[in-house]
Amino acid sequence: MSAGPEISQAFVVCISAVFTQNILLTYFLGLCPFLGVSREVKTAVGLGLAVVFVLTTTCMLNWLVYKYVLVPLELEFFRFIIFIIVIAAFVQLVEMVIDRYSPFLYQKLGVFLPLITVNCAILGASLFMVIRGYSFIVTIGYGLGSGLGWLLAIIAMAGIRQRLANDRIPEGLQGPGITLIIAGLMALAFMGFSGVLQGR
């Protein structure tokens, strides 16, 4: 198989993972940090970038582990456990490495890594890539797209919440309540994107 069509498929998968199949707003995965760390745009960007990085790299890693370890040994059913171990170990490793060698990167990105180790969006993306039978290149596109989609959603949410900070919100809705309602409205808006790609 030549790489050309695969790259274009990876591109399409990437774009749809950002918009129509947004892992946060259509599958509602990775909600915990989405609700917890979306009070300020600046923090949200840092966390979002960490998710992009971890999602892309762990999807690739897990693809390799799946293809070259689990499939030959016929242990596909173990992918839940194996994926989560791989993710946790990898994230810890990365954190230790940048903590040691790049204080700047650690300050911008590293501090968020422990927050997302057990994020279900990360595991979810790895499992989806297996279920949908993506090739390695498409998987890269998918991981990157899912991460970017998550980043986009949390930045938008943080922007909205910053504007809401000075508004008078009914007491019972303050905090998670209003945030969930906003998430619902954003999900509706993102559904609109599926119309754009209908002709695909």
Binding site: G36, R39, E40, K42, T43, G46, V65, V69, L73, L75, F78, I81, I82, I85, V86, A89, Q92, L93, M96, V97, D99, R100, P103, Q107, K108, V111, F112, L115
Partner: protein, 367 residues
């Protein structure tokens, strides 16, 4: 079949082992920051292994810093001053710190890692914070919705606290689908009685902890609490004092009165105790005893309205009005307030009208 299972188990275990070994190696070579010294309050140095957050490092040294989220950077309670060695402010800390705090090197101790020698400042009272297992020894009805609880300390069996501080009481799960909660209550007992903690609690309809205390807690039950916490306390000055508190807000004031008695404090003090009706007043005899025993203490109960056939010769009206009637110039006074936000805000307004500065008003607001 059995072979399959064995292979599966072996594979998963070996993948796990390889990754764990890899991590252990990395931890040994990368996250090994060697032994570090933490200087606390310029008083003592502790020697710790570097690489972990300050919070967990201190907990391992049996120094408990308040934290509700367990070090995940979401509650913002574990603030400490890290004077040297903390590195730049992290984005995970920013949302929890005010500008003044950043300027005075306050940091979240769960986010700052021990990478080198540190110099930190821990408020001395935090050294005293512990968890206590107690026995509920006495429950006394004070009014129809206020009770006094006495807890006998079991393990540890002594507590040191400053009059005015509060403890956090654990309400265990007492009905299906409930959850454990901690709620803060001021200590009302004599600080000299170190084997007991007393507190005054008003029933909050629907409140998790107060419902537990009123409907479920029985004499003899085991109770858990931790503390002491809080900055509400008597100042070192000799200025005359005004205490204003209503309902269960009497707790810290009563505690302060005990302390004044113990230390032979001769400051002039007047306690305005507000209630809506005569039968809502309580512990009047104890307050009269304080009047007799303290050098210059006056107890002024104030009721908002009296019934027709009630024999009440004391103050009537709002507690803030009574303060105004009795005190013409408060500019050299200090005020200690405890109660609902409404009472406190109203009191602050009145005291300012009477010439008191904001620095001389101390309060403990219930939320």
């Amino acid at each position: 079949m059995i072979l399959d299972v064995l292979i599966a188990v072996a594979v998963v275990s070996s993948i796990g082992t390889v990754l764990a070994a890899l991590l252990a190696l990395c931890e040994h070579f990368l996250a090994n920051y060697g032994p570090c010294q933490i200087n606390i309050n310029d008083e003592r140095d502790i020697s710790v292994q570097g690489g972990k957050p300050v919070l967990s490092t201190l907990v391992a040294e049996k120094i408990f810093i308040p934290s509700a989220c367990g070090g995940r950077g979401t509650c913002g309670l574990c603030k400490l001053k890290v004077l040297e060695g903390a590195g730049p402010l992290l984005p995970t800390e920013e949302p929890f710190l005010e500008k003044e705090e950043v300027e005075s090197s306050v940091r979240l101790s769960c986010q700052v890692k021990v990478r080198n020698d540190l110099k930190i400042e821990i408020p001395p009272e935090l050294f005293a914070i512990r968890e206590y297992v107690c026995k509920c020894a006495e429950i006394t009805d004070l009014t129809h919705d206020i009770k006094q609880f006495r807890f006998e300390l079991v393990e540890p069996d002594r507590i040191e606290f400053i009059a005015g501080q509060y403890i956090q009481l654990l309400a265990p799960v007492y009905k299906k689908g409930g959850e454990e909660v901690y709620r803060a209550y001021s200590v009302s007992s004599d600080p000299a009685r170190k084997d007991n903690v007393e507190t005054i609690i008003r029933l909050v309809p629907g409140g998790i902890c107060t419902t537990y205390c009123f409907d479920y807690l029985k004499v003899g039950d085991e109770v858990r609490l931790n503390g002491p916490y809080g900055e509400f306390r008597l100042s070192d000055t000799s200025a005359p004092m005004v205490f204003i508190a209503g309902g269960s807000g009497m707790a810290p004031i009563k505690c302060i009165l005990h302390q004044m008695k113990n230390t032979g404090n001769k400051r002039k003090a007047t306690y305005y105790f507000g209630a809506s009706k005569v039968e809502e007043l309580f512990l009047l005899n104890e307050m009269r005893e304080f009047e007799a025993e303290l050098a210059d203490f006056t107890f002024v109960p104030v009721v908002a309205a009296t019934g027709d056939h009630e024999n009440w010769s004391g103050e009537v009206g709002l507690v803030t009005e009574a303060v105004k009637r009795n005190l013409k110039d408060a500019s050299d006074h200090e005020a200690y307030l405890c109660g609902s936000p409404g009472l406190i805000d109203a009191s602050i307004n009145v005291l300012k009208e009477l010439g008191m500065t904001e620095q001389a008003i101390f309060y403990d607001k219930f939320n």
